[in-house]
């Protein structure tokens, strides 16, 4: 039993302990007990991940644990990367939960909701650890069910939670069915259900089978990952789930969809024809652009973060697509950089999105609202939370020296420096992909300026926001931990280089795509380099330096009323809100977003030229959902209503159905 095995076993044991503790401990100690257990699961999971990415692989088959198939675990470097990711997120969320679910009688502090938390984390650890199709599917379903129940934790609170649960349940189960079909087909065609057997058998697969398996798995995994157009569950579930669950889902669970794509497409199927990767790239590009545009116009803070998850998944998929495409043309070095960019971005996104969802949870807990239009003024009431959210927003906006910048830089390098030998398709696809990444980054900046600027700065626009108080220390500690990880990834991303090299080698792409010398980040096959550490030191050092010199040389600052053009006073109602902030951007992308706006002007009785009141309403329905899903739902409803006519309540009629069916079966049997 090696390090990986010990740590992973410890994680599963701790999860069991945590679940029992959640059920048995009295309400006062419950959140602390479960939080500690979840942190434990996270830490041990992360340790197992670190051991695995450092080369300690582990394989085991427990034939007796489950009837028929048994349980088979196989942890390699790729699995280790995602174990580390899930474990890291769970560690932060565990600490955060102590404070977040600490208020007794609050939705997430319920017995069931807390007991499920460590189980959900354990299920997420089991997914990458699975070594056979049956174990993988079991873990996948376990993860889906536990997360669904956690999403529904506050179902008594609002009907929106129930709708979100319904969407999530329907889509995650549909996704499961598709993945089940794909993997079962693959196992049957390859002649074995363990991943090792499949890997050995894929060489003889016909293109029809491998493409069929790819498409089925892609559909299932992309819907779990929240890629547009398979995303509608995501903004609902992420927004309505308790915030620590949102953090786990957005930062960790969604990444396992990415894991599934990498495992099946790169590892099990061993790559494929060009159109696979173009399809994946198109999916990524659409997700990135549509996700960030919806995030930019969202006024609900958690909905904004949820759509930004779709965006980041899009960027990750774009990186994977580039890696597959470039590996296909033999440019292994650049393909390795693209793969490293995708995996590093997965980790970076996990870091900042955990932080941001926890921050949103703190805001929700302090003010009771997620509506950015109603917030504002939190920077003075919750200074620590604001500072931590700012760190996350810097990473999410992909600005230097944030952590998101490093992985987007890698992605851009891979897209910029593919050789023109790649053919016409690549010549056209690469600049388009660069433009997509650039526009996504630009709108992303606008999105997070909006989230931070209108949500936290200036004056409060509602009484609840004005009454906000700082979160308890455990919540801040959890977020601080996430912020520290973000800072670490931003400043010394080269620490991930050996792990990414091992993964790239195992996926037959490139042995060492990143060549970090600690400070500089150098790439295989590309002459570009940056040193994130020097950039961070430069920005922070010079900022502090200029502030200090200006302070020493100049006169002291004096507070004065904001300039109100001589009239006044300025009220918070005159501030720019989240809605007004994105209005120009929304107008630019009018054709994509198709907002529904109406302006009602009411006139006094005396004259139609005078105005008594103006009401402005804006709705931004999810257009993909309206066009793609509504017709299906309507059709399903119609079929259901039609089928209802069969069931009138008459016992005779039901007996007649049974008789008819029996006769039909008998006739069929005789005829055969």
């Amino acid at each position: 039993m090696n390090q990986t095995a010990a740590a992973l076993s410890g994680a599963f044991a701790l999860a069991g302990v945590g679940a029992v503790a959640g059920l048995l401990t009295p309400a006062r100690w419950r959140s602390a007990a479960v939080g500690a257990a979840t942190t434990g699961v996270g830490v041990t999971g992360a340790v197992a991940g670190i051991a695995a990415v450092s080369g300690t692989v582990w394989q085991v088959r427990l034939a007796d644990l489950l009837p028929l198939a048994g349980v088979s675990l196989a942890v390699d470097a790729l699995a280790g990367w995602f174990l580390l990711l899930v474990g890291g997120v769970a560690t932060v969320v565990g600490v955060y939960t102590v404070g977040y679910a600490g208020r007794v009688g609050h939705g997430p502090s319920a017995r069931g909701a807390l007991a499920l938390l460590p189980l959900f984390v354990a299920a997420m650890l089991l997914v990458p650890a699975a070594g056979s199709v049956s174990t993988f599917l079991l873990a996948w379903e376990l993860m889906a069910v536990t997360s669904l129940l956690l999403v529904l934790a506050e179902h008594r609170h609002s009907p929106a939670v129930r709708t979100a649960g319904l969407w999530y349940a329907a889509m995650t189960q549909a996704g499961f069915v598709v993945v089940l079909l794909g993997l079962a087909w693959l196992a049957a065609a390859a002649g074995g259900e363990s991943f090792a057997a499949i890997r050995a058998g894929t060489a003889e697969l016909s293109p029809l089978v491998s493409s069929g398996v790819f498409l089925l798995c892609l559909a299932g995994f992309a819907s779990k990952a929240g890629a547009v157009p398979l995303h509608p569950w995501l903004p609902r579930a992420h927004a309505e789930a308790p915030s620590h669950v949102s953090a786990l889902m957005s930062a960790a669970m969604v990444k396992l969809g990415v894991y599934g794509i990498v495992r099946v497409a790169f590892d099990l199927l061993g790559g494929g024809p060009r159109w696979w990767w173009l399809l994946l790239g198109a999916l990524g590009a659409v997700s990135a652009l549509y996700g960030i545009l919806q995030a930019a116009v969202a006024t609900d803070l958690k909905r904004l973060l949820a759509f930004s998850t779709s965006e980041n998944i899009g960027l990750i998929l774009l990186g994977l697509a580039a890696a597959g495409l470039l590996a296909g043309t033999g440019q292994l070095a650049v393909a390795g950089v693209a793969l490293a960019a995708a995996l590093l971005h997965a980790a970076n996104h996990a870091g900042f999105k955990t932080l941001l969802f926890c921050g949103a949870g703190s805001v929700l807990r302090a003010t009771g609202t997620r509506d950015l239009d109603q917030l504002g003024g939190l920077s003075r009431r919750m200074p620590a939370t604001t500072a931590l959210v700012a760190v996350g927003a810097l990473g999410a906006a992909a600005l230097p020296p944030g952590n998101g910048f490093v992985s987007e830089w890698l992605l851009l390098q891979a897209l910029l420096h593919q050789a023109s030998a790649g053919g016409t398709v690549l010549t056209i696809a690469a600049p388009v992909a660069v433009a997509v990444v650039a526009l996504t980054a630009g709108v992303g900046v606008a999105t997070y300026v909006k989230a931070l600027g209108t949500g936290f700065l200036a004056r409060p626009r509602s009484t609840t926001a004005a009454a906000a108080v700082e979160s308890p220390p455990t919540m801040l500690a959890g977020m601080g931990l996430a912020a520290a990880v973000c800072a670490g990834l931003a400043v010394v991303p080269a620490v991930a280089a050996p792990a990414l090299g091992r993964i790239a080698t195992s996926l037959r792409v490139e042995s060492a795509p990143l060549q970090g010398s600690g400070v500089d980040l150098r790439l295989a096959g590309i002459a570009s380099s940056i040193s994130p550490l020097w950039i961070a030191v430069g920005v922070v050092g010079l900022t502090v330096g200029f502030a200090a010199v200006a302070r020493a040389v100049g006169r002291a600052r004096r507070r004065a009323a904001a300039w109100d053009c001589g009239d006044g006073p300025l009220t918070a109602r005159m501030e720019y809100t989240a809605t007004s902030f994105v209005e120009p951007l929304q107008r630019v992308f009018d054709n994509v977003l198709a907002p529904e706006q109406d302006v009602d002007v009411t006139h006094p009785a005396e004259s139609a030229y005078l105005v008594r009141a103006v009401a402005y309403r804006r709705r931004l329905p999810d257009r993909v959902e309206a066009r793609l899903y509504r017709p299906v739902i309507t059709a399903a409803d119609a079929v259901g209503r039609a089928a209802r006519r069969l069931a009138t309540g008459s016992v005779h009629r039901y007996l007649a159905y049974m008789l008819t069916a029996l006769v039909a079966v008998l006739v069929a049997g005789v005829l055969r």
């Binding site: 660069v434 931070l452 600027g453 700065l457 200036a458 590309i526 570009s528 502090v544 501030e575």
Partner: protein
Amino acid sequence: MTVGWIVAAAQVVLVAAVAPLLVGFTRAVRARLEGRAGGRIAQPWRDLRKQLRKEPLIPADAGVFFTAAPAVLMATSVLVVAAAPYLSTRGPLSGSVDLIVVVGLLLLGAVALALAGLDTGTAFGGMGASREVTIAALVEPTLLLSVFALSTRVGSTNLGAIVAAGTSNQAQVFTPASALAAAALAIATLAEAGRLPVDNPATHLELTMVHEAMVLEYSGRDLALVEWASAMRLTILLGLLANLFVPWGVSTSLYPGAVALAAGVFVAKLGVLSGLLAVGEVFAAKLRLFRVPELLAGSFVLGLLAVITSAVLA
């Protein structure tokens, strides 16, 4: 190594000193074309010196985002200047800060100012911030496509490498792709620096403002830092335009003579470009805000054409 840092420091000092003069020169050229006598070229320096001595005010509800923004803006500008190949392509930071980082750092400065505008809690501050980030978001694709066009022929996004390749192999510089990329980058420069026809730096009407609206609340040394840094950003962008597309004169070594010559050539290039900018501004009117995306879409198409042309011709 030490020589490299001295050259980097010299670049910072040169750009910091020249930037206000550049603004003064632009104003002087405009004044002359408009039949006015105009202020002196050193007038912006006098303005800065005075502002540094004045008392800074802070709006009642603003916090650290408001007070920190001028320093962040200045820091990003200085970092970019230190890393850019204005005098020599062998600067000590040329391997640490590449063209994508430069784009990112300039955006970081703009973001700091936008957050400061929101932090004041005034309608104008929010309005300026909203407009600024909208334009910044739409400029980004053009900027990165220009980076694409410039970097593929060199195989690196490092600024020093791009400029050095241009000086050593001059046939690379005057290609149709470079011309298209230069045109795209020029439009992006106007938008980033807040010049006509995207934004009018001389406007007094709040409703037409973009950049000015965000800084309406600044005074004293804060205002001085913002204005100085804004002038430096204009110089940075014009300098990049000059050295990326007309790389002659940039020293590829660290010899003092070559660097001194490069400084002279650099200032001359800046003079020509800012003169052109001023002349262009006399002839241009500010675009309506919602027409700006059309201009930027045009620059995006130019950038895309540049990339595809360079791939086809390669």
